[in-house]
């Protein structure tokens, strides 16, 4: 694994001078304002910030779900800004994994079918051994034939995590993946994400406003008003909380 990582760049995704604006003229709102960011490979990055700070927009742009107004974004060595829908779709399918806050699964497919869906769509055979390992890791082996409606919220999110991991994407994006879960189920899911970074060498970017969730990350980026205003390495949830309090205080003063 080390050799594989060493052969490639240490940066999984890059954004340079990324601006995202909504509306025009008087009503123009900047969601992202000249953002530069590097997402390190094999790390767990959390993006934090208050509502409206642009954290979700940044993630959507990095993941190729949203277009930028200006600036350039790369995933690995591929520039995704300017790619046509077809290429973008392929990129998301083959190289990116997603975990959303809710509604991650197709209700008509069972857990296993949901997990293998991206590979099925691509017409690739899932790597049996890897799949078993992923399923084992998230502890779903006995639930594979269940439909989403027969699973608890925590189990559903674990299926989503398994799906994101199963196709071995270069990078996984999570949009508040534990936002809908109680603290125990949330801790479980975050634990899996952490282990997938440590044990499987996965790169993960997660948007959250929960300091506890951010505490699982290697690095936390703070966004405010569309700009990266701070970052923190190897944080604990207490440190994250303190930092956020200080932002809130500054915000109030401002």
């Amino acid at each position: 694994m080390t050799t594989a990582v060493a052969a490639r760049t240490a940066v999984a995704a890059r954004a340079r001078q990324v601006t995202k604006a909504y509306g025009s003229g008087e009503t123009r709102v900047l969601a992202l304002d000249n953002v530069d960011v590097d997402i390190a490979r094999g790390q767990f990055t959390a993006i934090m910030g208050p509502s409206g700070s642009g954290k979700s927009t940044l993630m959507h742009c990095l993941a190729g779900l949203d277009t930028v107004t200006a600036g350039r974004i790369w995933i690995d060595e591929t520039e995704i800004t300017g790619l046509k829908d077809k290429k973008l779709t392929q990129l998301r399918r083959d190289r990116v994994g997603f975990i959303f806050q809710a509604f991650n699964l197709l209700p008509t497919l069972n857990a296993l079918e949901n997990i293998t869906l991206p590979m099925d769509i691509a017409g690739r055979r899932p790597d049996r051994e890897w799949l078993d390992r992923v399923v084992g890791t998230v502890g779903l082996a006995d639930r594979l034939k269940h439909r989403p409606s027969q699973l608890s919220g925590g189990q559903q999110q674990r299926v989503a995590v398994a799906r994101a991991l199963a196709s071995r994407p270069e990078i996984i994006f999570g949009d508040e993946p534990t936002g809908n879960l109680d603290s125990r189920a949330g801790a479980e899911v975050l634990g899996f994400l952490r282990r997938s970074v440590d044990e499987l060498g996965q790169t993960i970017v997660m948007v959250t406003h929960d300091p506890v969730a951010a505490g699982y990350a290697d690095r936390v980026l703070y966004l405010a008003d569309g700009r990266i205003v701070d970052e923190m390495w190897n944080p604990t949830s207490e440190q994250v909380l303190d930092r956020m309090k200080s932002f809130d205080a500054r915000g109030r003063v401002a």
């Binding site: 949203d66 779709t89 197709l106 008509t108 769509i121």
Partner: protein, 862 residues
């Protein structure tokens, strides 16, 4: 008030989702109103025509009753010219004009092309008299003067490119003759399609009626201040002293009424047939509306729960949905009434293209039309929304708090399964009984009941069948498309009730198509088999308009070369008194040469058919013999209409199991001639011929050539005849399928509707699969495949049902001679494959819209 306000808001905020339901209402109402407007317009047109062509009072021979059965079969009754002179002197008569008219003629141009209408409208030859000026004016040339001149109506002249100076030939009862066109008469009102030629009175009398100084009728104009009724009474009083044949005296209104009655039954049949097809479309539209409201209610479950939670009563929630339906019904119906007038105009243009001229100036919209249309549209819409509205009322306040939509109602599933099975089994049982009856009349009841129950059963049962059949279809069709196919299959299966209702709508139309095509092709197959088995004639000569064969043509055929024999075939009316003392009035007998026994080898159950052609002998059909307990050797007293009374011996009883001449009673032409004067003998209905051995081709060619100048008659050998039969059945099926197309279009709209609403409902899922890498193309394919599988499911149900109906109908009709069951597999296959295409087509717009959805918006939808 608040209920109304929320309903209005909901209605307008979801107007896109209602659009296709509205289209279904518009189409159904439009077709109903279109039919009404069209038939009312036809009535107006004919009314105006009849009014313009009728005089104040008409005097005609009593014998000239307007019974179409006698049309052209014998020389028509006339009035002597003396009657004209006498009527002229009656009190209150301002003018009396003798009318000569013959509507059983054919007019041909120099190329022997028939100048008559192809729609069944008559060709009329008449004398140029003052009454004509009420309806036409001569727009070029001059009126007919002298024996060689003729005026033709402008519509016919235009259609067939006839100009002044052209020679045209008139084939009438007394013989055919040529005339030169000297004028063109243009109608001042709408002439729906009759071809009319005008001669001077003397020529018309001699050439059309065959006698000088006779008239068909007398047209009277009332003196000023004399009412039509008073004039009629005067004429009737005077006529009592005329002696001679009794006269019929009618006022203008009575003549118009009589003409309308003649036409009325035909127009009613057409009107009710079209309304029937509109009714099927309405039925299909109901499915679409039910689906729409079910989906709207399902999508709004949380909202409805909230309304309940904050204190709305069930009734209020229920009513809010019904008010929306009411709005939809009103808007759809009003648009439908407007569109209906458009459809009527379209139909008129269509009729114009096939030769029936109708003028938009006569367009008639009766007050009843919009009323019927709007009531129908509103009632149907509100009824269709009834169940979904009830379901809306049942939404619990808890639903506001729950995440997902309404859970499925398990119990309803069981009830549905049991009820569906019961209905289907009962329907199937009745259909089976249909095939076992001995009397066609009993079977018809079973068939009708079986069709109805099995249809209802399938409609109720369709959601249950969906699970089974969609899976089977998916295994055959969708699996090759991999995960996209699998997702399409699961989507089609996720709401069986919706899929079932959508497919049922398609099923109804296709079941009728399949049923009728089975009956139609069985008809052709049975008749072909019977032709092969029992028809010995090489050639059949007849008019496709049902026109009898004029004597001149019969003679030409008798003289044709290369023929072994030529058979004359006449229908004779008679009152037949049977050994049991009963008398059958107006019984129809068939008089033919004895060679007819070779031309049509009818099977007998008793006696020999050839014996029936011996002197003073006859045969009857099996059913007639059974009804009256007749046996060979019995004597029947036959009192011929227009002839003497004969005592005929029964020599043969023919089998009723035949489609050709079923139930006919035969006697020889020689016998008939003994009792009927040559002048009273009806013309041949049809003629048959057999070529001399080995000269078939020469005979065929010479017959064709001999009939060239008589375009109203067709000469057919057996191959031609079978082809004609096939063509006729094919045309009839095309017409019916054309009318069923409306119901199928509404059903296809239903598929579009279901898909479009499903796409909206699944916005988040679509966003999700797009985010994790489903390409636009794959997404579109997924929706198309779902559509195809729903359409194929509907086709499977419809074709299955239709085949069962068609087979049961054929088995029943076997009693009437439809013995061969012929299932047109190629047609069935084409319909099935066509359904897949229809499915693809229905998915075009929903798939396009799904493909255009913004991934981010889709996953952001709360």
């Amino acid at each position: 008030m608040t209920v109304l306000k929320t309903s209005m808001r909901n209605f307008f905020s979801h107007k896109g989702r209602m659009a296709l339901s509205a289209v279904a209402v518009v189409l159904s109402v439009a077709f109903v109103c279109g039919t009404l407007v069209f038939s009312d317009t036809m009535t107006t047109t004919f009314d105006r025509l009849f009014k313009a062509t009728a005089s104040d009072v008409r005097v005609s021979p009593e014998a000239a009753d307007n019974d179409d059965g006698d049309w052209g079969r014998k020389p028509q009754p006339t009035l002597p010219a003396a009657d004209l002179a006498r009527v002229e002197k009656v009190d209150g008569v301002k003018a009396a004009d003798g009318e000569v008219a013959n509507d059983a003629i054919t007019v041909a141009d120099a190329d022997n092309d028939n100048l008559g209408s192809s729609t069944g409208a008559p060709t009329i030859g008449t004398n140029w008299d003052p009454l004509e000026l009420e309806s036409v004016e001569i727009t070029s040339g001059h009126e007919p003067r002298g024996p060689t001149e003729v005026v033709i109506d402008a519509d016919a002249a235009d259609k067939h490119d006839v100009r002044i100076g052209d020679k045209i030939r008139t084939i009438a009862d007394p013989g055919s003759f040529s005339s030169e066109v000297v004028g063109i008469a243009t109608f001042k009102i709408t002439n729906p399609g009759a071809t009319i030629v005008y001669f001077d009175t003397a020529t018309a009398q001699e050439k059309l009626l065959g006698k000088p100084d006779v008239y068909s009728s007398i047209n009277l104009t009332a003196a000023p201040g004399v009412s039509h009724e008073a004039l009629k009474a005067n004429v009737q009083k005077a006529a009592a002293d005329f002696g001679g044949d009794p006269l019929k005296v009618q006022t203008k209104d009575e003549v118009v009424e009589e003409n309308k009655d003649d036409l009325g039954s035909f127009m009613d049949v057409m009107k009710y047939a079209m309304l029937g097809f509109a009714g099927i479309a309405v039925l299909v539209g109901i499915f679409l509306i039910v689906n729409t409201f079910s989906m709207l209610v399902a999508q709004r479950t949380r909202e409805l729960g909230l309304l309940r939670a904050i204190g709305s009563s069930r009734r209020q929630v229920n009513r809010s949905v019904l008010v929306e339906a009411l709005l939809l019904g009103v808007i759809g119906s009003v648009l439908g009434v407007g569109a209906g007038i458009g459809i009527a105009v379209g139909l008129m243009k269509l009729m114009g293209a096939v030769g029936m001229e109708l003028n938009t100036a006569d367009l008639t919209v009766n007050a009843a039309t919009p009323v019927v249309g709007i009531v129908l549209g509103v009632v149907v819409t509100v009824l269709a929304a009834w169940l979904p509205a009830r379901r809306a009322g049942k939404v619990s306040p808890m639903a506001a708090l729950r995440e997902a939509g309404t859970p499925g109602d398990r119990k309803a599933g069981v009830v549905r399964t049991v009820l569906g099975l019961l209905l289907t089994v009962a329907g199937g049982g009745l259909l089976f009984l249909t095939t076992r009856v001995d009397e066609a009349s009993d079977g018809a009841m079973y068939l009708a009941g079986g069709v109805l129950l099995s249809l209802l059963g399938f409609i109720v049962f369709a959601p249950v069948l969906a699970g089974l059949l969609v899976r089977a279809l998916a295994a055959g069709v969708l699996r090759v498309f991999g995960p996209v196919g699998r997702m399409a299959e699961r989507n089609a299966l996720r709401n069986p009730r919706r899929t079932g209702a959508t497919a049922s709508a398609l099923m109804i139309g296709l079941a009728l198509v399949a049923c009728l095509s089975v009956v139609g092709s069985s008809m052709v197959a049975s008749a072909t088999e019977e032709l092969d088995k029992s028809v010995g004639a090489d050639f059949i000569i007849q008019s496709d308009m049902g026109m009898p064969i004029v004597p001149e043509v019969a003679e030409v055929l008798d003289d044709a070369p290369h023929m072994a024999h030529v058979t004359h075939y006449k229908a004779l009316g008679a009152d037949v008194t049977l050994p049991d003392g009963k008398t059958e009035k107006d019984y129809s007998l068939t008089a033919a040469n004895k060679t007819y026994a070779q031309d049509l080898r009818s099977e007998t159950v008793q006696g020999k058919l050839t014996d029936a052609y011996k002197k003073n002998s006859m045969s009857v059909g099996e059913d007639f013999a059974k009804d009256h307990g007749l046996k060979i050797g019995d004597t029947l007293a036959v009192d011929f209409e227009d002839g003497g009374r004969a005592e005929l011996t029964l020599r043969a009883i023919t089998s009723s199991e035949t489609t050709l001449d079923s139930g006919a009673a035969y006697l020889s032409l020689a016998t008939a001639k003994d009792y009927i004067e040559p002048g009273d003998m009806p013309h041949n209905e049809i003629m048959f011929g057999k070529a001399k051995e080995g000269q078939e081709e020469a005979a065929y060619a010479s017959l064709k050539k001999a009939m060239d100048p008589y375009p109203q008659y067709e000469v057919r050998d057996q191959t031609d005849f079978k082809q004609t039969l096939k063509d006729q059945v094919g045309q009839m099926l095309n017409l019916v399928n054309g009318l069923l197309a409306l119901a199928i279009i509404v059903a296809v709209l239903g598929v579009v509707n279901t898909l479009a609403l499903s796409v909206i409902e699944r916005t988040r899922e679509i966003g999700l699969v797009r985010a994790i890498g489903l390409s636009r193309r794959q997404l579109r394919r997924m929706i198309r495949l779902e559509s195809v599988v729903i359409a194929l499911f509907g086709a499977l149900l419809g074709l299955g049902l239709g085949l069962a109906w068609g087979t049961a109908a054929q088995q029943l009709l076997a009693l009437e001679g439809l013995k061969v069951l012929d299932i047109p597999w190629p047609t069935i296959g084409v319909v099935f494959a066509g359904s897949a295409v229809v499915g693809l087509f229905a998915a075009l717009v929903p798939a396009f819209r799904a493909g255009r959805m913004n991934v981010l918006n889709a996953i952001a939808t709360e």
